[in-house]
Amino acid sequence: MSTVRRPLGSFVGARSGDKGGAANVGLWVRSPRESAGVDLAHGNDADLDATESEEELADARYAWLVEVLTVDGVRRLLPETGGLRIDVHPLPNLRAVNVVIHGLLGRGVAETSRVDPQAKGLGEQLRARLVDIPSVLLGEGT
């Protein structure tokens, strides 16, 4: 299978934040209906039913994302996590993965010396990492 080295964020979104000393990042694959939602928001007409091939592409992208975002995968992408405990929870109903990194923020936002004390940018940092993405997944909307 041919792959292309591209940012993880090519078709994966992320949002990150803090809960005490833990940082969490949610990552998701864009919904097949997302472009319709965006079109509507811009005042254009759009069909709210996704085609079968759009659904299949989103499913294939999600299956790939789950393979990439294992505990070891997250550790490789974010060396800052060192030996910290990492939990990864797939949420297939949202085509999303919830990642929790325990202790990344020391004892919380007020205490940590991290430049980004609430891990606000952690998701965007992950999206910027280069990964080998199967070419077939880089269809429309990349």
Binding site: G26, L94, E111
Partner: protein
């Protein structure tokens, strides 16, 4: 079954857009206005405010309320806010006074009892060890005294205040989503007791409202703010804030007022669903929601249906947020202009801290050991080097890399002048072009967050609407 209740959010934190309350009340139809003013850190900020100004509530809420109170009372729009912070009773009093001043008859509900500080010694005597959820340590093991200790209350007391006729409900520490669960349960007459007895429809309805509350609790984060695909979002200079139209079964349509900026798509809702969650089960005092059962569906222009959420029994114990004063910190950032930024950083570090750049990188996740090896008399030392200069820089900002040195210590003096003087004394004797981004400042105190739990029976929730009434937490 009643029509869905339209619950609008107008604040995602203490400091969010001041005009949002007016926008949400005036720019379209709503039934309830709510908002969140209390982040984990906010309680600590309010402690300092209380010492300075005598009250520990979010005063911006009163400024916002002054603009909308008349309209809300006229139209029957209820207002529910956790801006009470450390002083919900005082805020309730201020709302009553505001009504008097404006000539508006307003019934004010106050939810309190979350503040455990006055009862700490009693609770410890009754066996509460306040074990840290992250570290497993007890308060006495670490030997620290909290300056804030608040149990997270659920939506039931808010429902009670609304049912008793409160136009405005102010609370202390309730969960962010309780600000939506409470009004939804009041509107639809949901039965908390049935949920406690395990009735699945009651659990699912509450869980649906919990999810809707989680989606709108952070304001514009549901409408295109802080969104990975921000380039797709129209009008993001001034996004509208979110509205949850919560139906009788707990399903909800997330939307915003027509004509406002931003957008509501499956993507913007997904992003917020994933924000600051710890796993598939999202806990709350009234109910826990299974996030692996949620279904999203774009059903129209800026309209996303959130449905299918399964509710399960809430945790036995209530979560508690504590903060204690951890000590003092200081930080200085040195600008490294042009060539050889790493060599410059290394010289500056060895001069100021006695450790090399290489050693600081080896110990970058161990600030205590780095401090031990340093010539600075501090307990923690952290170093960050941002190599942001580009090759052949035509403009100053293209030439600048940044070296950030942060120190911490229980003693303010050790991270005050004792630290900054080292940097200043190096100005003419170190690498070429040394200057800091800001003048050296004094040490500032920092807090430490201590997440814990408390038994429900140890928390006495008080709801007052023209007189006190007690409900269970």
């Amino acid at each position: 079954m009643r029509a869905p209740v339209r619950i609008a959010n107008c604040s995602g934190f203490f400091g969010d857009r001041l005009s949002a309350a007016r926008e949400m009340v005036e720019d379209g139809p709503i039934d309830v206005l709510t908002g969140d003013w209390l982040a984990e850190l906010t309680m600590l900020i309010l402690v300092r405010q209380k010492l300075k100004r005598g009250n520990g509530y979010a005063g911006t809420f009163l400024t916002q309320l002054e603009e909308i109170l008349g309209t809300c009372v006229d139209r029957g729009i209820r207002v529910v806010s956790n801006a009470g912070g450390l002083d919900p009773g005082l805020l309730g009093q201020s709302v009553t006074e505001l009504g008097d001043r404006l000539g508006i008859a307003v019934r004010v509900g106050v939810v309190s009892g979350d503040d455990l500080m006055p009862r700490m010694s009693e609770l410890v005597a009754e066996g509460e060890a306040f074990v840290n959820l992250d570290t497993g340590e007890t308060l006495s093991q670490v030997g620290v005294k909290p300056v804030t200790a608040n149990a997270y209350l659920g939506g039931e007391s808010i429902t009670s205040a609304l049912a008793q006729g409160a136009d405005v409900v102010v609370t202390g520490r309730v969960t962010d989503a309780a600000l939506v669960i409470g009004p939804a349960a009041w509107w639809h007459g949901w039965d908390y007791a049935a949920a406690r007895a395990g009735d699945q429809a009651a659990l699912d309805a509450l869980a649906g409202a919990l999810v809707a509350g989680h989606v709108i609790e952070c304001g514009a984060q549901a409408t295109g703010g802080n969104y990975a695909f921000f380039r797709d979002v129209p009008g993001l200079e001034h996004p509208g804030l979110p509205i949850a139209e919560v139906a009788g079964d707990g399903s909800a349509v997330i939307t915003k007022h027509g004509g406002s900026g931003g957008m509501v798509t499956e993507g913007t809702v997904t992003a917020q669903l994933l924000y600051e969650i710890a796993g598939p089960e999202y806990l709350n005092p009234d109910v826990s929601a299974r996030f692996d059962t949620i279904r999203l569906r774009q059903v129209g222009h800026d309209r996303v249906l959130v449905s299918g959420t399964t509710g399960v029994a809430p945790p036995e114990r209530l979560k508690v947020a504590m903060n204690y004063l951890g000590g003092f910190r200081n930080s200085l950032t040195l600008v490294l202009t042009g060539l050889d930024p790493e060599s410059k950083a290394d010289l500056a570090l060895r001069t100021v801290t006695g450790v090399s750049l290489e050693r600081s990188r080896q110990l970058r996740d161990d600030p205590q050991s780095l401090a031990d090896e340093s010539t600075l008399d501090v307990t923690e030392l952290a170093v960050g080097l941002s190599l942001s200069a580009v090759e052949d820089p035509a403009w100053p900002d293209q030439a600048q890399s940044l070296l950030r040195i942060t120190v911490k210590d229980p003693d303010a003096d050790r991270v005050g002048k004792a630290f900054t003087t080292r940097v200043i004394e190096a100005t003419l004797s170190s690498y070429p072009g040394l200057f800091p981004t800001t003048p050296p400042g004094p040490a500032s105190p920092f807090g430490v967050y201590w997440p814990s739990t408390v038994a429900r029976e140890h928390v006495d929730v008080l709801v007052t609407v023209d007189g006190p009434t007690e409900v269970s937490p």
